[in-house]
Each structure stands twice: as structure tokens, then as C-alpha cells.
Amino acid sequence: MTDGPADEAGPLLRVRGLTKHFPVRGGPVRAVDGLDFEVRAGETLGLVGESGCGKSTTGRLLVRLLEPTGGSIEFAGHDLTHAGRRHLRPLRGQLQIIFQDPYASLNPRHPVGRIIAMPLRVNRIDPPGGTRARVRELMERVGLNPEHHNRYPHEFSGGQRQRVGIARALATEPRLVVADEPVSALDVSIQAQVVNLLRRLHRDLGLALVLISHDLAVVRHLCQRVAVMYLGRIVEIGDRDDIYHRPQHPYTRALLAAVPHVGQFGPAGRLRLTGEAPTPLDPPSGCRFRTRCPRARERCAVEEPALVRRDGGGQATACHFPGPDPLPAEPVRAMA
């Protein structure tokens, strides 16, 4: 299933029933509602979905920027779920995050050398050879000129700032990095450079990577496994090739069909989804996707499908009627 180093007894990161509800007048916003997945050491997992699916919230939960309302997060054998600050501190160095906005995630008043060194300082890590040497090394590794360590963020371009963010995330030699939409805010010709950089870092450092993105093409180039999210739940999870070439869930199929790709001229295929995702404040009963699903039946309104493996392979789908569409025989009834 994975070709990363598996020197641990179990997975590096294990998430069970992860839930996060935000209390709001009118009911809780069920941003994340029961996620189950694992990431092995050195493995890359992509979390894809559209706005409102909860992927960004998940990213923040994984590095404990937010506290879960339910479920559990286990990292390298430690239970992070409700750990207090003291227990989290020694682990923080091993779990880092790269943010989406290269303009907002760097303190404009600090020179980049200081920004990159800050995780070392905060975690009281004194690297062999000294902090300054480590910052130089990190800057070189991400493709920045180490002589520029005294410059301020505004003197760098968007792509370069994102590299600073990556260097910062690598400072404490983490075992797992969460990258929240790391290239979305970048120009197209710069995106490729940063994607390549992430690939190289993953290879060279044996990092485990959780990549959060709405861009299916980027995820395909970076991730070995992919989880598709919709309205706070995972609807499908599996190896990259399984998801991209043999998607079973109707949402995954629709998502893939909707991506405009260059070789295709004229309008996209017939797998057009109508409407938009319902609000996470009041998700539909049963299967959350049923209101837009071309295959929805009565059962879908009543029973929420569980994430089940098919055919004993690595791919799991949460659908009562998975597989290529359209299904024969029974007429499809439109659901309210």
C-alpha cells in the first residue's frame, strides 16, 4: 500500500471519529463530523474537498490549533485529543503546519531569518552547530539565498514567502507536516516550483505530509493516498490511482469530471452536479450528499452510509450505491 519507511509498529498519525462543532446561535456548525484515517511515517495523504467540507478545520485540529469536540487524535503513540499545553509542548516540534496565505502567515516586522528560527527558539531547541547555521541550511534547502536572512517578508515575492513558511515548518525536523492549501495563493508558474519543492522535501527528509487542497491536480502530484471530504465527513479514501482512475463515490466522480483540464475542449461531461453544498449547520439526514446525488434513493435519506472497504482493497467508500453510474432499472427519485 505504501512505499514509505514503516519503522513504527503502527501508523504515525491515527484519527478516529474526529469531530469539531462550533457553537453558533441556531445550532452547532458541524464543521468536522466523524473522521477516520491514518497516516504512516513518510506517507503523503491528500485531503480534498470544496469549501465548507471541513478540510481546513481538520488541518488545524491535527496540529492542535483547535481542540476537538469529539473523537481522538493519536500521534506517535501519544493521545493529543485533549492534551493540555504542557503535554503538547514536546510534541509540537514534531507536528508542523504550512499555511495558505504567504502574505499573512509571516510577521511583517520580523526578518525572515528570525521567522525561520522562531520554532527553534520557542521549543528551546539548540541545534548542533547553532541556530544560525541551521537557518542557513534550511534556506538553502528550500531554494532561498541564505544571505537574505536579514530581509523582511515584503522584500520577497509570494513564492519566496511560501518557501520561508516551508523552511519555518521544517526547522524543528518534524515528522509530520500539515500543508493547508500551500500553493493556492500563488501564480501558476510559481505553483509548479513549490510543488516540486514539496515533493523533493518529502523524498529527501522522509516527511509524512497531510496536504489539504481543493485542487485535485496538485494533490495527484504530491500524494500517495487521498481522502475526499464532503460536509465534514470522508466520503471516499484510498490510494491515489484508485481514487483518480477508479472512483466509486458519486461525489468523487463528479468532482473529477468538473475539473477543467487542458486537453478537453468544449463543455465538461454530463456528470454535472446541480445546486451547491448545503450548510454544515443543518446537514441533510442520512447521506449528506443525497441532495445533489444523481443516484439518491429512499435509503439514502434514512441511513447514513459508513465508510466501508470494497473488495478487501485499500479503498473505502461511504455510499449505499457506489460504482460507475448510471445504475440500471430503478428510476432515480429527486430528493428535496
Binding site: E50, S51, G159, D187, S189, Y244, V262, E276, A277
Partner: protein, 344 residues
């Protein structure tokens, strides 16, 4: 048929503290009714500045706009504001990238659309206006338009808001629609819906559309012709299939090669264009793309000293601004392909 929109040698520049910023440098193109022209470029390419010039929206106290922009036979550049205003929203309309910020947060949606109608139909009564607005909202696919007429923009989802913007732009049946990154802020499934909507509306109303985007896939799906812009200039233009299937300019082919896609080998590294887009106040000499172009050294000093003209290449209106002779280009492209095939 005479093109509804004709742009000739458009130039837009802004004085800044670091020198003159040349956002658009001599851009010319034409669009006929019923056809979509895709304008592709990254940030700094000048595509948005071009779009704003098509509606005369530049602040002339700050920007200098020269050249010709002719819409339905009427000239825009250099004309007084009162004259241009009569065309805006009536002959040419624009939809913007972020519908949440492009709609006034304090006014109801129906009223905002009605405003667009009433400013060009002065005699229209309340009832007639409302009917027209609801008709338009229905036409763009907003469910229960009579109820949603009285709602505020924040009560709509992203895709619905963009439909509102489209309804507002089309309420006066303009012959030309400028869409500035209309789907960039939307989810990919909603993007597909909106693009389909635009195509349907174009077929129904025979509108000419200028679609500005950075996404080559979107251009492929929704445009008939394409303009590739870089640092304020057109580097390549032609029919969309021609340009995207057989790109001639190193920037276009570089862009196509660097974009991750659902096809192609996921294990191979992407092939980014080295370097980054130039600063518009200090443009490179000669060909603006030469510092990033792999082939720049092939012709000695020429690429560095002499800016290439936009010339016809091949058949079918395909134009290109590059010094490399066609045969040389083809040879290099073949080389690239084999090299990429061997790489992994």
C-alpha cells in the same frame, strides 16, 4: 461580420514611486458577437488592466490610457465620462472575480439588479423593472427569484452570488460581456455550472464574451479564441485548440508544461518556468520573456536587444511574438517531448 469589440494598440500605464508602471503595452484584438475570447495570464500580465480599459474604468487622474477601444462602432478612449457612462452596463457589461465583495453588502440583491436596469431605462416603472429583474434572475438559474429578490448578498452562496452578478450584467442585453476571473473564487463543481451558464447565455443572446482567467483548463472549455498575455503584451493568440494543442510561444508551452493535471505522469516532477514574472516598472530589454526563456541564447543577442513583433504564423489567424524561426521552434519542441519521455 464586423467585430463588436475592436481594440487597437491599447496602452495603460501608471506613474509610481519606482517609475512608470506599464501595465498594458500595445495590445490589439477583436471579438465578434457570439464568440468567446479567453485572455490568459498570471498576475502582472496586464489582463485585468485591459479589462478595466474596455469599460473605461481606469481612474484617469492616475492612469494614462492610449490607443483605441471601439465597442459597437463607438470609441471609448479619450471620450468624456458622460459618453462612456452611457455604454457601461448597456452595450458592455462586466462581471468580477469575487461576487461577495463586488455586490454592495447593504443593499438587497433585487434592488442592485434593478438599479442596473433603471439607469439605462429611465422611463421604466417599478413594476416593469421588478418583472424584468425577476425574469433575469430566473434565466440565470436562481431558484425562487421573487423571494430572493429581497435578500441580501450575504444570504446567498458563492455560486448564487455569481449568478446574481451575471443577471445584473445581462439585464440590459449588452452585446459585449467582460468576465474577469468569474470562477476563480468558486468551487470547482460550481465553476462548471457557471461556465455552462455563460455558454448557454452566449448562445441565446449572441453576446461577445471576453473571459479573463489564469486557468488554462477553463479557457479550453469555455473559449473559442485565446490571447496569452505576459508583462502587458500579447505573446500568442489564435484559436483555442490551436494554441493549447500546439503552443508556439515558449511561455505558453512552459505554462502548459508546468500546470499539474489529471492526465500525465503523477510521478514526474512538474516542469516550472524558471524565475518569476518581471517587475512592471523595470521590464527586461528586448523580449520581455527572455530572462526566463530556455531558448533565449539560441539567437545570440537578438532576444535581449530586440522586442519581437506579433506576427502571423501558420494558418488560421495564429499569431506569435517570438524571434525563433518556426522550424527551429518545432525542432526544439520535439526535443523537449523526447527528453520528457526519457526522464522517468
Amino acid at each position: 461580420m464586423d467585430p463588436y469589440l475592436r481594440v487597437t494598440d491599447l496602452r495603460v500605464s501608471f506613474p509610481t514611486a519606482d517609475g512608470v508602471l506599464r501595465a498594458v503595452e500595445g495590445v490589439s484584438f477583436a471579438v465578434e458577437g457570439g464568440r468567446t475570447l479567453g485572455v490568459v495570464g498570471e498576475s502582472g500580465s496586464g489582463k485585468s488592466a485591459t479589462a478595466l480599459a474596455l469599460l473605461g474604468l481606469h481612474d484617469l487622474r492616475r492612469a494614462t490610457v492610449t490607443g483605441q477601444v471601439t465597442i459597437g462602432g463607438r470609441e471609448l478612449v479619450g471620450r468624456p465620462e458622460t459618453e462612456i457612462r452611457r455604454l457601461r452596463g448597456r452595450n458592455v457589461a462586466m462581471i468580477f472575480q469575487d461576487p461577495l465583495s463586488a455586490l454592495h453588502p447593504y443593499h438587497r440583491v433585487g434592488r442592485q439588479i434593478a438599479e442596473a436596469y433603471r439607469v439605462h431605462h429611465r422611463g421604466a416603472g417599478r413594476g416593469e423593472t421588478r418583472r424584468r429583474v425577476i425574469e433575469m434572475m430566473d434565466r440565470v438559474g436562481i431558484p425562487q427569484p421573487d423571494r430572493r429578490y429581497d435578500q441580501y448578498p450575504h444570504e446567498f452562496s458563492g455560486g448564487m452570488r455569481q449568478r446574481v452578478m451575471i443577471a445584473m450584467a445581462l439585464v440590459n442585453d449588452p452585446a459585449l460581456l467582460i468576465a474577469d476571473e468569474p470562477t476563480t473564487a468558486l468551487d470547482v463543481t460550481v465553476q462548471a455550472q457557471i461556465l455552462e451558464l455563460l455558454t448557454d447565455l452566449r448562445a441565446e443572446f449572441r453576446t461577445a464574451i471576453v473571459l479573463i482567467t489564469h486557468d488554462l483548463g477553463v479557457v479550453g472549455q469555455a473559449a473559442d479564441d485565446v490571447l496569452v498575455m505576459y508583462a502587458g503584451r500579447i505573446v500568442e493568440q489564435g484559436h483555442v485548440e490551436q494554441v493549447l494543442r500546439t503552443p508556439q510561444h515558449p511561455y505558453t508551452s512552459g505554462l502548459l508544461a508546468s500546470v499539474p493535471s489529471l492526465r500525465g505522469d503523477p510521478e514526474a516532477d512538474l516542469r516550472p518556468i524558471p524565475g518569476s514574472p518581471p517587475s512592471l516598472t523595470e521590464l527586461p530589454t528586448g523580449c520581455v520573456f527572455h530572462p526566463r526563456c530556455r531558448h533565449a541564447g539560441a539567437l545570440g543577442d537578438r532576444c535581449r536587444t530586440e522586442p519581437p513583433e506579433l506576427r502571423v504564423v501558420g494558418t488560421g489567424g495564429h499569431r506569435l511574438a517570438c524571434h525563433l524561426p518556426t522550424r527551429e521552434r518545432a525542432r526544439r519542441r520535439a526535443e523537449d517531448t523526447t527528453r520528457a519521455g526519457v526522464a522517468r
